[in-house]
Amino acid sequence: MAEVKLTNVNKVYPNGAHAVRGVNMEIADGEFIVFVGPSGCGKSTLLRMVAGLETVTEGDLHIDENRINDVSPAERNVAMVFQNYALYPHMTVRGNMSYGLKNRGDSKEEIEQKVIEAAKTLHIEDFLDRQPNQLSGGQRQRVAMGRAIVRNPKVFLFDEPLSNLDAKLRVQMRIEIKKLQRKMGVTSIYVTHDQTEAMTLADRLAVINNGQIEQMGKPIELYKDPKTLFVASFIGSPQINLMSAQYDGKILKSGTLEIDGFENLPVAEELVLGLRPEHLRIDTKGKLAMNIDLVEQHGADNLVYGTLEGAKNEDGEDLELCLRLNQDQEPSIGETITLSYDHTNALVFSKETGKRLI
């Protein structure tokens, strides 16, 4: 059981690339933290620094009371699951799982018992004597998990562990990872670019952009109360609808479209208005007119795509709007519908700074 603390952590590569910029974070014992962000944002680098696979240029890493900057990866008592599983190809499943324990100097009986126990938890006890190349992707994933849990580490580190699996297996493993982490109560850090994984797994979520933590909090907080435009656009699927807007002191306008209900916004500044697809509804008295281009039926709900009359997106083009409806509401393509919105859910950002205003 362990707490992890990152204090002003920086990573600068020899070629000058500043991958991680001044990250501060305190992770409580048993907490499941997810780092999410676009590729190249530094989330994997940060994880690899905790694992000890990358050196820390500046700042301090602590696990419990111990500063681990200069501790070798094997002595940090962490376990990592890699994206491509990184199983040892010349060892059996049993060999893969017992390798770390053997090097730690555990006794033979102890190792055997721990391996069997972990294999049972992950339902891989039938494959113990197989080579990794005789296993399917899902089974390899389980072995990689098994190799991690068998060491009973202080911290689990996951580097996009599900991205090589097919969609169905991914959902299944996601649930299993979450259950396993709950049961074992091990502090975990999980890196992903998949925001569904991030939302569902995390106790707390850190959205990382350009080497910095953009915002950190409970997934639902980040969804409802994003502090920046980046967080708002990254969290939520389908993505939030963003339109460029100006406030003239009385009314908010996007292109020629007038959107009322907003007050106390800065005048003469480029703004961005964000409306989530689920916060729009069909309303015959509504003031937003939408021309429908496409309807996607997802079963429980329908996603409707089209253009919003008059409104402009951030690049000054006609706004492509997405709208989420119940399965029983199915407008037809080519139809024009009117929408209303609940302005208490609307988000307004400054375009220049990306900071949220309302």
């Binding site: 990866p73 990592m80 390798y99």
Partner: protein, 292 residues
């Protein structure tokens, strides 16, 4: 039962013909000649010959000189193979860890690859020359009463050193590419599982390099057996007293210097059988041990 579905078109035979012709002309024919020759006793001028059955074998193979040469060949091949592989692996592992200036470093290590064995031998000859050789003076200055012209151990040392030096670069290239073929994440996972660098090398890197190593063992034994001919010819010439004469070199000296074509052929037939046996053993071994 169906008969063969293809009509007998001559085209496939045409395609494999060049290869077959090459094998016939450059391997089967000389090999058959050697076997035939090994049963003949020829006079020194090549004017007459006599069929003598296995007399040549009896007279050349079961001699002290041949057994001595066979013994030297085995020790020499083992030393050259082992040392050049071990050194190359060490260099490759270390070079693979270098980050700054890696390319220059690797290129420098590969350079010796471009040198032909006789040239390497010639360079060695100069370096160990009793009159101007730097290494000759160095070894003597170190307190070793070194003279490869007189002492067979010293002569062996010279040919092994040069043969290893020449071969390290080839092995280095293969090991380096083998190392780069090992997934980085596997080694990273091992870093988390195992603290000791040395232990990690023997449990991860070494077994994962096994296919490369095996291939190189085959290549290096062949090299030590045959290709070191040029090195031996230009350094010791088998001296002193035939103590650095490998089997191949002995075939050459007996046949072309001693003009005993029958005896020389008999030796080459025995050598051929030995290499054949060695190859079979090696490939039996690869099928069982080196796979993952």
């Amino acid at each position: 039962m169906k008969r063969v579905q293809f009509s007998h078109s001559p085209i496939p035979y045409l395609f494999i013909a060049p290869q077959i012709i090459i094998i016939c002309i450059f391997f089967l024919w000389p090999a058959a000649q050697a076997i035939y020759q090994s049963f003949l006793l020829e006079d020194a001028f090549g004017l007459s010959s006599q069929f003598v059955w296995f007399k040549n074998y009896k007279d050349t193979i079961l001699t002290d000189a041949w057994l001595q040469s066979a013994g030297f060949t085995l020790v020499f091949s083992f030393l050259v193979t082992f040392l050049s592989l071990a050194l190359a692996m060490l260099l490759a592992v270390k070079a693979n860890e270098v980050i700054q200036g890696a390319r220059t470093y690797k290129t420098m290590l590969m350079w010796a690859y471009a040198i032909a064995p006789p040239v390497a031998g010639l360079m060695g000859n100069l370096m160990f020359n009793p009159l101007i050789g730097d290494l000759y003076y160095f070894l003597n200055a170190m307190g070793w009463d070194f003279n490869h012209k007189l002492d067979s151990f010293d002569a062996g040392f010279v040919v092994v050193l040069i043969a290893v030096w020449k071969q390290v670069s080839v092995n280095f290239i293969f090991f380096l590419s083998g190392l780069q073929g090992i997934p980085k994440s596997v080694l990273e996972a091992a870093t988390i599982d195992c603290k000791s660098n040395l232990r990690r090398f023997w449990t991860m890197t070494f077994p994962l390099l096994a296919p490369t190593t095996f291939f190189l063992v085959v290549i290096n034994i062949t090299y030590a057996f045959f290709e070191t001919f040029g090195i031996i010819d230009t350094t010791t010439g088998g001296a002193p007293g035939g103590s650095t004469s490998t089997l191949v070199y002995k075939v050459f000296t007996d046949g072309f210097r001693g003009n005993d074509l029958g005896g020389s052929s008999a030796q080459s037939v025995v050598l051929m059988v030995m290499v054949l046996a060695l190859t079979v053993i090696q490939f039996r071994f690869i099928e069982r041990k080196v796979h993952y």
